[in-house]
């Protein structure tokens, strides 16, 4: 890992946000599950995307992350999510919170699709990884 990569990994982002589509998905998930706010969905979405090994890079149709702004300190108060991300993906050489911003949106949208498809109906379904579960094609 280079010096510049290390600098990039410590990051300098203060705020992160959902994309517009992800924000709508997050609101639906808050309605459906006992999550207190979209902030919870942000963390769950990122964790879900990691577990489902969704790409860390932004897809072409990702769009602008211009939904409500969340302070990084609110999303990841102790830096736990960031540390886990880096431990899982030591190859990352950019700001981890940019990747978390990507993951929370793609994860929330993916989760929302699976809920709509009736594949995830409860927290139990969500926390139990599917044997062969993979992302639903858009």
């Amino acid at each position: 890992m280079t010096q510049s990569a290390n600098t990039a990994r410590t990051g300098g982002r203060v705020n992160i946000a959902f994309t517009a589509a992800a924000e709508q998905a997050a609101r639906r998930l808050v309605e459906r599950f006992p999550f207190a706010s979209p902030l919870d969905v942000a963390r769950v979405g990122a964790a879900y995307a990691l577990r489902e090994r969704l790409p860390l890079t932004r897809p072409g149709d990702f769009g602008a992350a211009n939904g409500s702004n969340y302070n990084v300190g609110s999303v990841d108060p102790q830096g736990e999510l960031r540390d886990l991300l880096l431990a899982l993906h030591p190859e990352i050489d950019e700001d981890p919170y940019r990747i978390i911003e990507t993951l929370m949106s793609v994860g929330a949208i993916e989760l929302d699709k699976r809920v709509a498809a009736g594949q995830i109906l409860s927290l139990r379904d969500l926390i139990t990884p599917p044997a062969t579960g993979r992302a639903i094609p858009a």
């Binding site: 006992p34 990691l50 431990a87 139990r124 926390i127 139990t128």
Partner: protein, 650 residues
């Protein structure tokens, strides 16, 4: 008394005028009728003719405006009805008619009234003669020993509870049927004369200077005793009124049992819904609190996988590190010609061999790689997630929601059922329960006051007796005549009190003996030996060794009650027919058989109102044999119309 015929007109289900002729020979008659045909109404027709009352469940009086036969569904219309009972007694023939009919007064307004008439040997008796004859023939207070049903039999258990109001009334009825009032009335009459005599004694004493003070004291004490007596009488009357009110209210509450049950269930369900709602909220709160950890649980499988991979990588890197460190030592041996470990010289051949096997990997680089792996492992190991707890909390919360939803549905159903009742029913019942509570408090207070007043009266009576006796002992001429009168009445009162006690004791012994004889004939349990009577005429079953049978069955309650009734019939100066409604309901086959065999021995005229399920006809015919003197049946014409017909069911 022997019943000859009953004629009913529009009484209960008996539409029009219908005749029933009782058998003229001694024995048992059976009247067969299914439930709802009019067996209780038949008993009530006889009761109405004799006493002017119609009884419903729990011996409550039925409103007369509801008794008349009706052929429509308009319950607001009051109908006339009538019953005429023909019977013989003491060589005379009586025809007693009692009617409930509408009469118009001088203003033309109509009102329903009870009218009765008594014809004796063809002569219509005037009101006074009629009432006197009726009071002597069969006083209402003893009707229970002649006209009864299973519910009335059950009340005899009250005799075993000392001091119970029902038991006291029953005891009074028993003593009445046994003729005790002749003595007790005589005793009470003498007591009244004695009180007058003492007043006269006081007045006479007041006329003499030597006895003036004593006379005044006696006068005052007598006045105080009289006031105390009036107080006791007033309280006794109040107590009876309160007891009647309480009975009436309890009956009203009994009649609203279904609604009250519904109300209680609704209230309990409402509380359950509140409890379940609180539980559901608690479970949701717990789940909400735990939901913040869901992301960790989601990530946990990936972290576990990665940890396993890191462990494998760490092993491999460790091996590489060992090799790199060994290579570094070898290189040093080759370059210095001395082994850095054992300090021995390294020859050219060995140096060549070490050089050939040297590793190209740098130990520091491998060490750094290992450090990175360990750092990642340490981060991943910090993740704490309990998926089972979250799943369990979610299940608990879901279950709590389902339970709440079910209970809310049931509550809505109950509320809908309650809404069908007339408006204000719940409030009326609530008010009735409140009033009943207050009446019960008054009843308890009045009972206590009556007890205190009786004790007060006793003390005051004793004071009067002491003063009167003191005056008599002075033996002054002025009070001489009154003193002698008082002395005579005191002795007469003592004699009558002793006679009452003696008569009671003898009666109790006789009833115990007679009831035991009947009981032995009726009982199917060979170990039950006899009955023991208490001061209230309550009967306890005894084993042969004299120990009590505890917790006897309700079937045996009836056997004991029938034994008592039979004993009373045998010991009473009044003999009469027995008409009983569904008396076999609680008896098993053996006891039914025994009762059938014993009935003809109890009295000359027995009428049993029974239904097929209660009594098998063939068994009844066999057991009664020649004692069966008549059969009748109640034929259904419609739900509101029954005809009395001769013979058993066709």
């Amino acid at each position: 008394m022997r019943l000859v015929a009953l004629e009913v007109t529009d009484f209960g289900p008996y539409r029009g005028t219908q005749q029933f002729s009782f058998a003229s020979e001694p024995g048992v008659e059976l009247v067969w009728g299914e439930n709802g045909r009019g067996k209780t109404s038949f008993l009530n027709a006889v009761r109405w003719a004799l006493f002017g009352v119609v009884l419903g469940r729990a011996s409550s009086k039925i409103d007369l405006s509801t008794v008349g036969n009706r052929d429509d569904t308009d319950s607001s219309t009051v109908r006339s009805f009538k019953a005429t009972l023909t019977f013989t007694h003491g060589g005379h023939t009586y025809k007693l008619t009692r009617a409930y009919r509408e009469e118009t007064d001088w203003t033309g307004a109509g009102a329903f009234r009870e009218r009765k008439s008594l014809v004796k040997d063809g002569d219509v008796l005037g009101p006074e003669d009629r009432d006197r004859e009726l009071a002597n023939l069969l006083p209402e207070q003893i009707a229970r020993f002649f006209l009864f049903d299973a519910e009335l039999l059950q009340e005899y258990e009250q005799l075993l509870t000392p001091g119970s109001d029902a038991g006291e009334k029953l005891k009074a009825s028993i003593e009445r049927v046994l003729g005790l009032p002749i003595l007790t009335q005589a005793r009470d009459d003498v007591a009244a004369h004695l009180a007058i005599a003492r007043t006269e004694q006081a007045k006479a004493a007041q006329k003499d200077k030597t006895t003036l003070n004593l006379g005044n004291d006696l006068q005052l004490a007598s006045d105080e005793a009289e006031n105390a007596r009036k107080n006791v009488a007033t309280l006794a009357e109040l107590l009876e009124d309160l007891q009647n009110d309480v009975n009436e209210m309890e009956k009203q509450l009994t009649s609203s049992n279904r609604f009250r049950g519904l109300l209680a269930t609704r209230n309990a369900k409402r509380e359950e819904v509140e409890r379940l709602a609180a539980r559901s909220k608690d479970r949701n709160d717990e789940l909400d609190a735990a939901a913040g950890d869901v992301w960790r649980v989601v990530l946990a499988p990936l972290v576990a996988q990665e940890l396993a991979s890191i462990e494998t990588q760490t092993d491999a890197v460790n091996h590489r590190l060992v090799a790199a460190l060994a290579a570094r030592q070898a290189a040093r041996a080759v370059s210095t010609g001395v082994c850095p470990t054992c300090q021995q010289a390294v020859g050219a051949d060995l140096a060549q061999t070490l050089h050939d096997h040297g590793s190209a990997e740098d130990a520091d680089t491998v060490q750094a790689e290992l450090t990175t792996l360990r750092a990642r492992r340490d981060v991943l190991r910090k993740l704490r997630a309990d998926g089972n707890r979250i799943a369990r909390l979610e299940e608990d919360a879901n279950q709590a929601r389902v339970d709440l939803s079910d209970a809310e549905g049931q509550l809505r159903d109950l509320q809908a059922q309650m809404d069908e009742a007339p408006a204000g029913t719940a409030e009326a019942i609530g008010a009735l329960i409140d009033t009943l509570g207050q009446k019960n408090v008054s009843l308890a207070n009045t009972r206590r006051r009556l007890k205190d007043s009786r004790e007060d009266l006793q003390r005051k009576d004793q004071a009067v007796v002491a003063l009167s006796e003191k005056l008599r002992r002075l033996g002054t001429a002025s009070t001489g005549a009154e003193d002698r009168k008082v002395k005579l009445l005191v002795e007469l009162q003592a004699l009558l009190a002793a006679a009452v006690a003696e008569f009671r004791d003898r009666l109790r012994d006789r009833i115990e003996d007679e009831a035991s004889k009947v009981f032995r004939a009726l009982s199917a349990e060979r170990d039950y030996d006899r009955l023991r009577i208490n001061d209230n005429y309550g009967l306890t079953i005894l084993y042969a060794d004299g120990t009590e049978v505890l917790n006897r069955s309700s079937g045996y309650e009836h056997v004991v009650a029938l034994s008592l009734i039979a004993a009373l019939q045998r010991c009473s100066p009044m003999a009469g027919p027995i008409i009983t409604d569904s008396p076999f309901g609680r008896l098993d086959a053996t006891h039914k058989k025994h009762v059938l065999q014993a009935l003809p021995q109890i009295t000359d005229q027995v009428v049993l109102l029974v239904h097929d399920d209660e009594l098998d006809r063939q068994s009844a015919v066999n057991e009664l044999n020649t004692h069966l003197v008549g059969e009748h049946h109640l034929r259904r014409v419609s739900g509101r119309h029954t005809e009395i017909e001769a013979g058993a069911h066709p």
